[in-house]
Symmetry: C2
Subunit: 113 residues, 2 copies
DNA sequence: GTAACCAGTTACCTGTAGGTAATCAAGAAT
DNA sequence: ATTCTTGATTACCTACAGGTAACTGGTTAC
């Protein structure tokens, strides 16, 4: 798990921040969804998300592997292929994302009275 | 509502991003909780959150007012006092935050096997 | 009169997420 | 042979969130 200087008081917020770290950022959700949708290979994922660069994808995939949202398997064969697959743990995020979605939809209604 | 260049495909994620914008960032949740706990005045909120600067607090309060999470009332009297109060809308966030918390707690269990 | 309180604003600086582009190795295709 | 693919890594750069600190303007207390 990434250490992000969580030294504040309000330690009850630490798990909230952890979750926000896992799904926050510009690309993490897009990448996760791409993999959920069945994209398995590096270039495949990259191509499925316009404007995503290899550098960022590479970094995010490492993060997501550390966070046990995906598994990375190098297939011994030529050409070397790497397979990314979503974990069961990652799927528990769907409920959270749905909550965020529902609140967002309702929020838009509020804001644009 | 803040426009943050949400030009991507995957428009179903837009409401999710909206929500993340509203509760993301280093201070937003802390400030919201402080106000939920009953802190009403600028300096009161500022003092309740160590290391929070007036500049950042000022900016975040404006954001939160725009997002209808709080109301700002200037009391006509001397010294001028400003009162910040949480809206009902803000309270609908509690469920979302609870989901984030629960997932975060479970995530920690997973990661520190 | 000066020190401290309120509610901020302004100018300047820093750290980091993310963007751009080149490069690597190794095999396949033309 | 030289270009294309796959899966990345590296160096460099930029934009913006957030940090630091000084300052404003009005009020009250010592």
């Amino acid at each position: 798990m990434k250490k992000k200087e969580h030294k504040e008081c309000m330690s009850a917020l630490l798990p909230v921040r952890d979750t926000l770290d896992v799904i926050g950022g510009k690309w993490k959700l897009l990448i996760l969804i791409s993999i959920w949708e069945g994209n398995k290979h590096f270039r495949e994922i990259e191509r499925s998300i316009p404007k995503l660069s290899t550098k960022v994808l590479s970094k995010e995939l490492k993060d997501m592997e550390e966070n046990q949202l995906i598994t990375r398997t190098v297939l011994n064969g030529f050409p070397v292929r790497t397979e990314y697959a979503p974990t069961e743990h990652s799927k528990t995020l769907k409920k959270v994302i749905l909550e965020l979605y529902n609140w967002g939809v309702n929020h838009r209604k509020k804001i644009f009275t």
